[in-house]
Subunit: 252 residues, 2 copies
DNA sequence: ATGCGCTGTATTATTATATGATACCTGCGT
DNA sequence: ACGCAGGTATCATATAATAATACAGCGCAT
């Protein structure tokens, strides 16, 4: 079928099984056999066998009456294993907790994943949209505070390449998609050591981020704080939030 | 190899791939090829092909120098999909946030998963051990506050079966493993509508839980709060924490 | 330096095993 | 009562996973 990857070290059956798992997302919270077949593009019979296997192995729950499949608790167990495998999580967690208590605002550990930012751990302190309160969400890196502050640590060519090539997508009507503007913002982040963005992914949300650097000065992660623009302005953010964020990021 | 499950609807290759993923846990945060082979019991060649496939599909990161495999960010994306698929998470999140702010203590959404409790979302408010601060952790249901309060909602026979059959394992030297005692505690939970346990999974930790019931009175989930026994005693917990927990659980 | 052992990589013949077409069953709506 | 959609079960076929084997790289000890 898929003609590429005719490598003998590539197990296409397993790859197909993974496509079943990845068919579930924000909009597809439960899927029928035929739904899975449509999304994955796999044969109905294949989906039947693969989904059945995933079910027997505890990776998919199956509603006995609707026969629809759903992600199982095992998906959370995998995340749990991830948290242990990422050394930054254990190091950052106590500082994140302190920060969230001190600021009374949502703080996140964000990491670079390809050209996107993934929120690895989130400590929501105020009611917000659901997507912003659970870990694992990914968003384009370029227009977000965490992304900008990470890119700002890159050597010049890599930084330019990111600004030129990385994908952006408007999530709100105010998402910055102009690459000239993004370049300026990233340059600013390089100078000041932080980035503040507004209305990028969610309207009314301000993001503040500081990079977590390795000893060589490079960065793949950031500490990020999300606040409401109804309660905060940039001046107050700079005086009341930034110093704490900076300190936490620098001691990691 | 595995002689059972010779069902034509069972794709053993996929099942083997899943075993690779599940080889990672608290103690195995990164694994070499041979390490994977040992843990999974699979042939070295199979592991090579399966791990390679998982790597190419973005499910495993590979350290280019040590050649060791690690969980990838994709594992968090799966958790993200889970959060959307579980309707309880979206309903509970705002209440959990309010609770954590009001109490200033760690609150969790716990669900029953077989004979174990899985912490689905966690809002840590005080520094604690790492395992207690990230979602996805599972523990035996019987001795934990959340487990007891859930089992307490079961009809008599199911409750008895759980107390008799479900697995328990001592995590601390004070973990309750005596089933008579557990039966009493669960009966107490049925009467009072809540459960309070001490030193069950972590020394110095007190757990308080209230069940989240469906209209028919059954329960598969609980709101749980963890506090330190150095700062709290049962009387103060009952007066200052319980009413809020109860309220949150009852309105879900 | 030399050789050994360990771990990861690549290749191959063999056949086990995934495939997808097909037929059957069930429940729902008309 | 009927047709249809979605889920389930069966089966012949050849694709694609298997595991044995050989090769390469690295560290370690002699």
């Amino acid at each position: 079928m898929t003609e590429i990857k005719q490598n003998t070290l590539f197990v296409s059956t397993l790859a197909k099984g993974l496509r079943i798992l990845q068919a579930f997302d924000e909009t597809h919270t439960s899927l029928s056999l035929t739904g899975l077949a449509q999304i994955t593009g796999l044969d109905k019979s294949s989906v039947q066998r693969l989904a059945n296997t995933l079910h027997l192995e505890g990776m998919l729950d199956k509603d006995p009456v609707t026969r629809r499949y759903r992600p199982s608790h095992a998906w959370l167990s995998l995340a749990y294993s991830y948290f242990w495998s990422d050394p930054l999580v254990a190091r950052a967690m106590p500082k994140l907790i302190d920060l969230s208590q001190r600021l009374g605002e949502t703080v996140n550990l964000a990491e670079l994943s390809g050209d996107r930012i993934i929120y690895v751990t989130r400590l929501p302190c105020t009611r917000t949209v659901f997507a912003a309160s659970v870990p694992g969400r990914t968003v384009p890196a370029l227009p977000t505070s965490a992304g900008q502050v990470i890119i700002a640590t890159f050597p010049p060519e890599e930084r330019a390449a990111a600004i030129r090539d990385w994908h952006v997508k408007a999530h709100t009507r105010h998402t910055t998609i102009d690459r000239k503007t993004l370049a300026k913002q990233i340059e600013e982040a390089a100078k000041t050591g932080h980035a503040i963005t507004t209305d990028q992914m969610i309207l009314g949300e301000i993001g503040i981020a500081c990079a977590i650097c390795t000893p060589d000065g490079q960065s793949r992660a950031a500490i990020q704080c999300s606040v409401s623009s109804h309660h905060w302005d940039k001046a107050r953010i700079r005086s009341e939030i930034l110093p704490w964020l900076m300190d936490a990021a620098n001691t990691l």
